[in-house]
Amino acid sequence: MSNAKLAIFLPFVESARVVSMNEKETIVVDTASAGVAAPDALVRYPPGDLAIWIFILAELLVFGVFFSSYAFNRMNHVELFNQYQATLDRDAALINTLALLTSSYFVIRGVVAAREGNNRLCAHWIWGAVAMGGVFLVVKSAEYSHHIGAGISLSTNEFYMFYLSLTFFHFMHVILGMVILAAVAVKAGQGGYSREDHVGVETGASYWHMVDLVWLILFPLVYVMR
């Protein structure tokens, strides 16, 4: 084979090498997230376990697809959406927004306490966040029981279908987030974290912030925007 012909293959060869280098990079990143305390645990980015970030991104993708479906559907039924949006309890949703924001603040205080190696304080803050999650569940359940009492279901109309689907899917995430936070709080209560190793707290915190973030989009999108 002549050199000229070989050259055609060169770009391919080079790009193949780049790919394999990328793989090595992935390895490095992954090793850092093996769950064992790295010396630079305090400044590591992203905080928490890499696995939870993959999960968070996948979850955000699910919600993203859901939000876009909502938006496209609303485009075709603007009047219907506006009409039935007015039937939602915005005050309850506002209380829930504040509850989740407060819970995220508590979680941050928990992470700060864990970074200082204060397990007891960390557990207190995280339990506080779980309690605020509980407030969210109670308020949201009251809203659901009101809707169910009014005979509203997924089949009532397009707006309610999206409203119920989106908020219920998020509701399930609040429960999952609370379970994760509770596990973190229990471990902290047992003195399971240290100044050097508190990846678990940051992992739980990252997930909880995702749950909060999704609500911060959901609230204006479904309850407020006209």
Binding site: E23, I27, D30, G35, S155
Partner: protein
């Protein structure tokens, strides 16, 4: 082999491979009937061949899962199996019940089989994939319960690992969802609705847990990567598989008389079902790249990586192709579905069972860790023959499907079903040729067990820095 009782896996694996051969033979018969309609008629009509082809697939995969579990669980639990005797007994019950059922399909008309087995007492027959006589279904439940008891007791008394727990949840789900096979409402919409609780929630739900845990086990064993890292991936993958897979059931509820919201729920969630499969591919390759040792059983590693890739393509990509409601409106029940079914079942479940057999069989046959080089070379040949021919089967069926959708449903002058079928004949012929290559691959696979049995074991090597790329 670390525990004596792991050896109960061997007959399960042998039976699985035997039934696999049967499945492929009936697949070839049926493939020919697509183009030569009266081939082997009236001895083996198309509907019987199809029933045997699909039922054998399910049964041999179940044999494979059970064998894999019997091999995996003692090693994970670090103790002998609770009752090897029970495992042996269940093997024979399951095998004989399976054989009698298939003979029943082949020897008497289906209606006669229903009469003979007193289907009228508890009617459960006549539904696609769940054609088994009620008595067989009851037998399956008994076998499943005894199996779960045996496995559950072993895990309960031994070390509990993420892998064995995920596997147990998967197997429990498999048993629980099978119970919907006994619910046979008169309302056709309801009938279909609950039928999917078995069919979909198996292959796109709990079976994925079984797949994930077996893959994780083989990767731990062959790569030497920390259990902690692998288990973390397993958790993330199965969480995603469950979220997308469970609600994704909705993609079967578009046109069967269920409420309209399923078109949204089904489209959105099932469209995301490829994500866990993609994660699985990244996971498998990442773990192999980070391996701490070069396992001497290269064939098993090849199967493991092949599973991850083919599951993503077959279940993920080919599933996504026709999962959105507006697309499915045209493609529903065409050869597109058949194409997806072939590559998804092969890529996800056939390959994971073959991965486990490839990894475990050498030990079950008294070797240290791996078959001889000659045997592995043959096995890798069979890997490529079967995998590449399955890719072609899938591509030909996809071609047939696209043409079918156009001719029968999309064009300005839609053709009747059978006329459209005649027009895509060429694709069916090519699919049949690819099927023959698949059978050759399967024969090579079986031959690999009989080659070089006395040859020495290949040596396990340390990982060279360059090999990590």
């Amino acid at each position: 082999m670390q525990y004596q009782s792991q050896s109960v896996a061997k007959p399960y694996f042998i039976a699985a491979i035997g039934l696999f051969v049967g499945q492929i033979l009936f697949g070839l018969i049926m493939g020919l009937q697509y183009v030569i309609g009266d081939f082997m008629f009236p001895e083996i009509p198309f509907n019987v061949a199809r029933m045997v082809h699909t039922n054998l697939l399910i049964v041999w995969l179940l044999f494979g899962f059970m064998g894999a579990t019997y091999y995996l669980v003692p090693e994970e639990a670090e103790r002998e199996l609770f009752s090897p005797l029970l495992a042996h007994l269940m093997f024979w019950i399951f095998l004989i019940a399976g054989a009698l059922t298939v003979l029943g399909y082949l020897l008497v008309p289906y209606a006669t089989l229903a009469e003979l087995t007193h289907n009228e007492l508890l009617p459960t027959m006549g539904r696609e994939f769940l054609e088994q006589p009620t008595i067989t279904k009851l037998g399956i439940v008994v076998v499943a319960l005894a199996f779960l008891f045996n496995i559950g007791m072993t895990i309960l008394k031994g070390r509990k690992t993420a892998i064995s727990l995920v596997l147990l949840i998967g197997l429990l789900g498999l048993a629980v969802f099978f119970l919907f096979a006994f619910y046979n409402p008169d309302n056709l919409a309801k009938d279909k609705y609950y039928w999917w609780f078995v069919v979909h929630l198996w292959v796109e739900g709990v079976w994925e847990l079984i797949l994930g845990s077996i893959l994780a086990f083989v990767l731990i064993k062959t790569t030497g990567v920390d259990r902690e890292v692998i288990e973390k991936w397993l958790y993330v993958i199965i969480a995603m598989a469950l979220i997308t897979g469970l609600v994704g059931t909705g993609h079967h509820f578009y046109w069967i008389g269920t409420p309209e919201y399923w078109q949204w729920w089904g489209s959105i969630f099932s469209a995301l079902e490829p994500i866990p499969f993609f994660m699985m591919t990244v996971f498998a390759f990442n773990m192999v790249n980070r391996r701490r040792r070069n396992h001497p059983n290269k064939a098993a590693v090849l199967w493991a990586m092949g599973t991850a890739v083919m599951a993503f393509l077959g279940a993920g990509v080919w599933g996504f192709m026709h999962t959105l409601a507006p697309v499915n409106y045209y493609t529903h029940g065409t050869q597109i579905t058949a194409a997806h079914g072939h590559m998804a079942f092969y890529g996800a479940y056939v390959m994971i069972v073959l991965t486990m057999i490839s990894y475990a069989m050498p030990m079950l046959r008294g070797r240290e860790a791996a078959p001889s080089v000659r045997s592995q070379v043959l096995e890798m040949w069979s890997f490529w023959l079967m995998t590449v021919s399955m890719v072609f089967i899938t591509l030909f069926l996809t071609g047939a499907g696209i043409l079918q959708v156009y001719l029968q449903r999309f064009s300005d002058n839609p053709l009747p079903f059978m006329v459209a079928q005649d027009k895509v004949e060429l694709f069916y012929w090519m699919r049949e040729v690819a099927g023959v290559v698949f059978l050759i691959g399967l024969i090579v696979y079986i031959a690999s067990f009989f080659v070089g049995s006395r040859d020495p074991e290949p040596v396990a090597g340390a990982v060279e820095p360059a090999a990590a790329a």
